[in-house]
Amino acid sequence: MKLLTKTNIYNSVATVVLFTVGVFVVLKLILIKLDSEQEEQFLQAKEIIIKSLKEGKSANNFLSNIGEKIVITEIYKQTSFKNNFREYEQEIIEDGEGEEEVDVRELNFQCTINDKAYSISVSKSLSEGREIVEYIFGIVVLFILIAIIFLFVLNTFISELVFSPFYDTLSKIKTWNIKKNEPLIFKKTNIDEFHLLNDSIEALTQQIQSDYKHLKEFTENVSHEAQTPLSIISTKIENLMQEDNYNQKQHEAIQHIYQATQRLYKLNQVLILMSRIENKQYVSTEKVSINKLIEEKIVELEDFIEAKQITVNTQFNVEIEKELNAVLFNILLNNLFINAIKYNLDEGGTIKVVVNNDSFSIENTSSIEKIDKRFIFERFTKSSTSASLGVGLSLIKKIIDFYNWHISYSHKEDSHKFKIYM
């Protein structure tokens, strides 16, 4: 969930809850006030009625003053000295509009005036006050709804404005590539926290970049500088090997030094090749048919395929033509196929090559266990049974990365499959 969506949801829920509670509290307070106001009016009416009765006036005269219904009944003796309020619903028949129920409030009291006892009831419709309250309620709710919508829009707008440097930073980090050697430059911001965040990330990436550069240069330099001493060792040994008056021990020692030098030399070649790819020294391109190159590669490796009695199945569903560097692609195919042959079963294995719209895959049988996907393309990961799988695979990965392709590895029963999406 996006940060802004989340804060907006929280804000909206809080606003709605706050306003709902507020509205009900206000409403309740108004109703209480209205009730006590009315009670006062009733008590005033009571005073007026008693006063009028004392003066011997007819009750009808002050009907209009109070504006409601007054019923005065003479009773034998006063039994109650309390003011009794009650509320009930009364059906009123209005002209042509049918029945309507109206809340009515009534005050009952008894009094004794000039030795005569009366029971008096004053009643009044509540609808008028209630209507006002309902009206106010409606207006308030409407205002609140408008306020909520307004706040929501405002919040979104402000948040977007406030968080825009943050999102800018985020998108720039996402697309940042250590290999491109471009510094990260963020949008200027006057928010301290974001400013600090950007500064920290800038410093961090600069550090990473310079470390990476140094490491890369170091690897490059080492592999380049190693070539001359390696050549000297190699030629010296080859010259030494020309002599044939060695004892068994010397003979074996020379042989081992020679073989170790060869291995070192091959490793060095791969490292140099990798840094050359990284330094974009294979950028020239030509249009090639992937299918044709695969077919040629299979023919090229026929000797080795036959030696292991491997059956090669090709399934070319389409013909892929690509603009790429043939040297680099040849290295890629070479490594993929050599691995597929080298680690195949000793006898009667298979290699299956499938070419699809935008991908091709090479699947081979093997007795090697599944390779850990996390480390498969790392430079010096070794399979427990092989010595040089790692360099070959990381070279493959380097070329795949160079073309922004994607490679996947899967293992099923006794077969390993590499699929390249172009």
Binding site: M241, Q242, I272, Q281
Partner: protein, 224 residues
């Protein structure tokens, strides 16, 4: 056959000279662009080995100099970095071949032989031994006067060995010369061994003497 080696790494240069001298070439050397050019004007060489990274400039200058003044001379470029651009540039301005350090001495010798053959120096297109003749123009092998039937790989191995007579050729060098970037695979399969075995058998069947000697654990020798 006179060769000029322009290489600043003394140790390497000495080994190259030692090896090539044993292969019956006479070698001169220079260690800078300037002294190389001096040597070139003083003596007539058949082929020059030029290192591209020299202390006083690029070997490319020397190559250009040779091309303009002695176009009939063979040129092999040697460089530490296997840079594609250098290679293309070197070949474009007229170098005949290109070797990356470190290289096998036998490979260097085979390349020199091949450059000299192509440039037809001394009309020597046939490697001939007592009862064996290898015509490298026609790609024919004549044993006691009759043509032998060899596979392409067997032929390549024979030429490689014969262009390095009396030298020990390691199986690694042979594998690299014949199988190139698949040499590692060839080694795992003992392909060199089986090809040599077949070749020896064919030479034997043709009634030739045992030219190819196996040096146990190390490689092979072509003995006249």
């Amino acid at each position: 056959m006179k060769l000029l080696i322009i290489e600043d790494e003394k140790s390497l240069r000495e080994d190259v000279i030692e090896y090539l001298t044993e292969n019956k070439y006479s070698c001169d050397f220079a260690s800078t662009v300037k002294s190389g050019m001096m040597k070139l004007t003083e003596t007539k060489y058949s082929c020059a080995l030029v290192d591209l990274g020299l202390p006083d400039g690029s070997g490319i200058e020397v190559v250009e100099f040779i091309k303009s003044k002695y176009p009939e001379m063979g040129i092999i470029i040697i460089t530490a970095a296997n840079s594609l651009e250098d290679k293309l540039q070197g070949l474009k301005i007229g170098a005949d071949d290109y070797l990356t350090k470190p290289f096998h001495l036998s490979e260097l010798s085979a390349r020199i032989y091949s450059v000299l053959r192509r440039r037809n120096f001394g009309g020597k297109n046939v490697l001939s031994f007592d009862d064996l003749e290898i015509d490298t123009t026609e790609k024919k092998v004549i044993a006691n006067g009759s043509q032998m039937q060899l596979t392409k790989k067997e032929y390549d191995i024979l030429v490689y060995l014969a262009s390095n007579p009396t030298h020990l050729i390691t199986k690694e060098a042979l594998a690299e010369a014949i199988w190139g970037d698949k040499a590692e695979m060839a080694a795992t399969f003992d392909f060199v061994y089986s090809q040599i075995k077949n070749l020896k058998k064919k030479l034997n069947e043709a009634g030739l003497k045992d030219y190819i000697k196996v040096v146990y654990g190390m490689g092979y020798k072509f003995k006249d």
